[in-house]
Symmetry: C2
Subunit: 347 residues, 2 copies
C-alpha cells in the first residue's frame, strides 16, 4: 500500500495492539487471548497459557478493542443516557445514582440534547448505531416511543405520560404539588400565583395541573393574571416577578408557587431588593429541593425529589432488562416529600 496521497488524516503513529499480536507473543491462539482478556479463562485455559497471555498483555499494553468486540458480540458494553438538561444541578445527582448502579461492567456515556430540546427519537436512533447494551432516556418527548421502534433495553426516567408497558422510573411530582397546595391552604392562603417553566417538559405540566386541581379543591384561588412562566433562570424569573408583583399584590395574592427552585430563587432575590417580606407578606415555594434551598435566606420550602435514587433505580431496571430478566414492575414511581422551610413558615 503506497501512501502517496497528499492529505493523510490520522497518521498511523498510533499502532493498535491487537489480540493477534498478543497471541503471537504468547504462542497461543487469539481465542485463548480473548478468553483471558475477558476474564473467562477459569476452567477453560490452562494456568500456563493464562500466565503467558497475561504477561504478553502487560508487555504490549493490550486493551480489548471495543469496536471489534461489540461487532462480534452484537452489543457494546456501553450504556448511553440521553438527557436534555445537564445544566440543572439536579441532573448531577441523577447521574451519580446511575453510575453507582451501573458499576464498572458498563461504561456510561451521556448524550445531551441542544438547549431547550427534549430527547427525540431521531437523536436516539443515531445513538443506537453505537449498539449500546442499554439506553436511558431522561424526559423524552411524548412522541418518543411511537417513533422509535424496537429499541432494545430501554428505561425512561422522569417520563410521566407514557403507557404502563414501557419501563420507566418516575417521580411523583403530582403528589409533591398536592403537598404544596395542602401546606399553603393549611397556612390560610386564599389567593396564590403560579410561576411555571417554559420548557414543555411533561413534568412541569404535571406539577402545574396537580397543583391547580388541588388548590381548587382546597378552596384556593388563582386570580386572573396570576400565572406566569419563564425559562429556568434566576435573573429572568426575578424580572418576571418584579413585573407581575404589583398586579398580583393588588389581586390579593399571598403566596407564589414555583415550578422549580431556580424560579423561586429569582423571587427571593427580587423580594429582597424590593423589600417584600418573605414569608410575612408573601410565601414562596419551590420544586426540586436543590442543595442551595436548604441554606438560602430565607431557606426555601420545596418539594424534594430523590435524584440519586431516580438514577439508581433506572439503572437497576436497565441492568435487569440487559440480562434478559422480566421486570417485576415496569413502572416505578418514587415518592416526593415537602420540605417546609422559612420561605413559607415564620419560625
Amino acid at each position: 500500500m503506497h501512501s502517496t496521497q497528499k492529505p493523510r488524516p490520522t497518521p498511523p503513529s498510533r499502532r493498535r495492539v491487537t489480540a493477534a499480536m498478543v497471541a503471537e507473543r504468547a504462542g497461543v491462539s487469539t481465542a485463548t487471548v480473548s478468553l483471558v482478556a475477558n476474564g473467562k479463562a477459569s476452567g477453560r485455559v490452562s494456568a500456563t497459557n493464562e500466565a503467558k497471555v497475561r504477561e504478553a498483555i502487560r508487555a504490549l499494553g493490550y486493551v480489548v478493542d471495543g469496536i471489534g468486540s461489540s461487532l462480534a458480540r452484537g452489543v457494546s458494553n456501553t450504556v448511553i443516557m440521553v438527557a436534555p438538561d445537564i445544566s440543572n444541578p439536579f441532573f448531577a445527582t441523577v447521574i451519580a445514582g446511575v453510575r453507582s448502579a451501573l458499576g464498572s461492567k458498563y461504561q456510561l456515556l451521556l448524550s445531551v440534547t441542544d438547549a431547550g430540546q427534549l430527547p427525540s427519537a431521531d437523536d436516539t436512533r443515531r445513538l443506537l448505531g453505537l449498539r449500546p447494551a442499554g439506553l436511558l432516556v431522561d424526559a423524552p418527548e411524548l412522541s418518543f416511543l411511537e417513533e422509535l421502534s424496537a429499541p432494545g433495553p430501554l428505561v425512561l426516567l422522569d417520563a410521566p405520560g407514557f403507557g404502563p408497558e414501557v419501563p420507566a422510573v418516575n417521580l411523583d411530582v403530582a403528589h409533591g404539588a398536592r403537598l404544596v397546595a395542602g401546606h399553603l391552604a393549611a397556612a390560610g392562603h386564599k389567593k396564590v400565583a403560579y410561576l411555571d417553566g417554559t420548557t414543555g417538559t411533561t413534568t412541569f405540566e404535571l406539577r402545574r395541573t396537580a397543583f391547580l386541581d388541588a388548590a381548587a379543591e382546597l378552596g384556593m384561588e388563582i386570580p386572573d393574571g396570576a400565572m406566569a412562566s419563564t425559562t429556568i433562570n434566576v435573573g429572568v424569573a426575578a424580572d418576571a416577578f418584579a413585573e407581575a408583583w404589583p398586579g398580583w399584590k393588588a389581586a390579593g395574592v399571598t403566596a407564589v408557587v414555583c415550578a422549580t427552585d431556580t424560579h423561586a430563587y429569582g423571587i427571593l432575590q427580587e423580594a429582597r431588593a424590593a423589600g417584600i417580606s418573605i414569608p410575612g407578606e408573601l410565601a414562596v415555594t419551590g420544586f426540586d429541593d436543590l442543595p442551595y434551598s436548604r441554606t438560602s435566606s430565607p431557606s426555601l420550602t420545596s418539594v424534594n425529589l430523590p435524584g440519586e435514587l431516580l438514577g439508581r433505580r433506572a439503572a437497576e431496571q436497565l441492568l435487569r432488562l440487559i440480562d434478559g430478566e422480566e421486570l417485576e414492575t415496569q413502572q416505578v414511581t418514587l415518592e416526593s416529600t415537602l420540605m417546609v422551610r422559612g420561605s413559607t413558615f415564620e419560625a
Copy 2:
C-alpha cells in the same frame, strides 16, 4: 443454530436492518448501498441506482451501523469528552460551545468522572476502545499525558500546567486573578482573605498563586489564618465563613477573594444572615461569573471566563487534528475579564 439454552439475553425481537438487506431489495451490491448511505454517491453511483437504494433505505428504515462502520474505517464518528464536573453550571456553556463547533458530522458523547475525581488516563484508555474520532479532556490530572500513550487526536481544555507540545485551550485565570488583586488594591484594601476550593484542580492553584503574588506586589497582606478552603457548595462555604469571620475581622480583613462564585454566594448569604454589610464592611469577589452573579443582591464582582468560547475553540482545534492538519498554535489561551459589581463597589 438451536436456541435451547435457558437464559437467553436480549431476545432477537429487534431485527437489525443491514446493508445487505437494502442491497438485496434495491438489486445492487452493498458497496453501492454504502456509497449512497454515506452521501458519497455523486459521480460514483448512477441516478437510477441511487434512487433505488434510497427507496430501499426508506422502506426498510436502514441506518448505517456505527460499529461495523467504525471497524471498517478504523475510527468512529464519535467525539468523546471527558469531564470531571458536570454539576458546575459553567460546564453547560462549555458543552454548548463544543456542540456548536462539532456540528452534525461527529456525535458528542460525554463521559463524566466520579464526584471529585479528575479525568485520569485510565478512564480515557477505556474510552479509546470506542475508537473516538477525537478526544476532548477537561481539567485532566497532571499525570494524564505521561500515562496515556499515542492517544490520537486529543485536545485538552482548562489544563494549565501541561507542556506546550500538547494541544490545549486554556483560560487565562491568572490574568483574572491579577485583575481582582488590582481592583481591590485600587479600592484601598490592605488586608484580604482567600477562600479556596478543595478539589485539587490546577486552575484553583493558578487562581490562588496568581492572586497571592499580585496581592503581595501591590502591597496587600493576607493575615495569618486568612486562608480557608471548602468544597464547591454554598452552604459549606457559608459555614466556613461564619466560623472564620470573627478572626478575619479582628485581623483587619476588608475583602475576601473566592476561588469560585459558589464560594462567594456562601459568603453573601452568611453576611446577610449575620448583618455584615457588603461591600461596606467587607468586599467579596468570585470567579467564573456564573449567570446568577449578575443578579444576586448585591451582584457579585467576578472574573468572567468565556465558557462557550472555550468549548468552541477546543472543538475547532480537535476538528483540525482529526482532519490531519497542523495546528497553527498548539496552545490557545482565552482572555478573562473582571466584571466589577456591587459586592466590591458601592454604587
